[in-house]
Amino acid sequence: MTFASDTVSKKMGPLRPPALDVENIRRDFPLLTQKIHGKSLVYLDNAATTQKPQAVIDRITRYYQEENSNIHRGVHSLSEKATQAYEAARAKVRGFLNASQDREILFVRGATEGINLVAQSYGRVFIKAGDEIVLSVMEHHSNIVPWQMLCEERGAALRVIPINDTGELGRDEYEKLLNERTKLVSIVHISNALGTINPVKQMIRSAHDRGIPVLVDGAQAVPHLAVDVQELDCDFYVFSGHKLFGPTGIGILYGKAGLLEQMPPYQGGGDMISSVSFEKTCYNTLPYKFEAGTPHIAGGIGLGAAIDYLNGIGMERIAAYEQELLAYATDALSGIPGMRIIGTAKEKAGVLSFILDGVHPHDIGTILDHEGVAVRAGHHCAMPLMQRLGVPATARASLAFYNTKEEIDLLVKGIYKVKEVFA
């Protein structure tokens, strides 16, 4: 069967997804038509947050106009409507990540809260004095500090996977760090500061061979590639809605049901209980055990709308287009004298961190903004990584599928303006 279909695809040539109609796509994002300092906005700060398609904005508005009420508790029609919309969004997230069950999808405030939930709930039960947690030098502070706090509390220790100068993780070093004391691996899927796509699937397999669970921080991965949590076989996966063209204040923690069931609640309150008395409280089932209080209902529904929008385009097409754009941008930037791109891993997503001889990234950011080009300048919440790279900060242009080659040209033009000012 497999053999036969291989033959067919060979005969037909590689199946290429149809190209994106970016001009049309841009019309879906009202903010992109703005002028900044009289210039057309070139939004290249997508790793910080993404713009929202009209469909998401409309869906949130419609929720507040037509469905607003509290969920999981009303007998009235509106509450049922809101509950249905919220739970439908959960099902959309499940499909998007290809998780096997809705109850493995927990709504949280963002990737940061997802990691904190695992650190506080899983960590308090399963991490003991002398245990070790493995993460990498390229982690965002949100995947460092919660573990540091836990380690301090439990008397455990962090072990850090190093990187090479291109920004790739040391696989051998990783294998060597895993031992009988390792109780968890928490690793970023795509680096926000370098764009490196880490080989998480193989890393998870290595950890599982030793019985170690793995959390994957997917905040920068879900907007750029199709993620299948069953194929990765990760134990936890987190991401933020606002980096996926959805609202702020909503995010997802995926966890394998078997693990989530063993974990104590993260916060106590309404919705997370099945019965309460002053003698004893029984906790609700998954996923509600972890969702205390009235959640960000509009946010969850808005995230569902963002996923619908992305599914309408197709993550494979998005990934293919972004790779093309990244190659174009890498070429264009490399041609600028005095330019150094930070992060040149072979497997890379649309992030271009760079430094310019004799100009501080902060000044690059201000001058580019004058040209209407929005980039990030700073340490990108990855101070240990900046220290490893020996730079105090970088400027970072990060791409989304609504960016164009013309915008990359404007970025390049802006960088020449920076050089002119500092000549």
Binding site: H360, H362, G378, H379, M386, V421, F422
Partner: protein, 150 residues
């Protein structure tokens, strides 16, 4: 481009490329560290106080053009001044970069420091320009813990 030149004036670019008094003062009797965690700017200010007078001043660190030039020009402005005079200058400087003094007049004797008046148009850069001054203030007060703009 013209308004960008308001911010990046030639004097500022010159000081950022060739900072004055850019050295550790071995004879310093006051030092303070300043840090802007948002952008990673970090400076150390060294003072040689002679009673109430700033006899000598030096600085080291890394930061953007605005913060480095501000530190450099601050050192040339306060050398030989008393603590009270330096603090008064900081107050005027702060008012200027936060836009509290209208149309950049120079009633307070800011002198060359008025080149930083363009900063008031860039709220996110105010901290860059004022970080060295906050650090100087900490050194004058003899504060031991590093100061932060956040």
């Amino acid at each position: 481009m013209s308004d960008l030149r308001e911010l990046y004036q030639q004097v500022i670019l010159d000081h950022s490329k060739k900072p004055r008094n850019y050295q550790k003062l071995e004879c310093a009797n006051r030092t303070a560290e300043g840090h802007n965690p948002l952008c990673g700017d970090q400076f150390t200010i060294y003072l040689k106080m002679d009673g109430d007078v700033i006899r000598d001043i030096g600085f080291e660190g890394a930061g953007c053009a605005i913060s480095k030039a501000s530190a450099s020009m601050m050192t040339t402005s306060v050398k030989g001044k008393t603590k009270a005079e330096a603090e008064a200058l900081f107050e005027q400087f702060h008012k200027m970069v936060t836009g509290e003094t209208a149309d950049c007049p120079d009633p307070a004797g800011l002198g060359k420091l008025t080149v930083f008046c363009g900063v008031c148009e860039y709220p996110v850069r105010v901290k860059c320009a004022s970080l060295p001054w906050h650090t100087l203030h900490a050194a004058l007060e003899g504060k031991e813990t590093p100061i932060s703009t956040e």
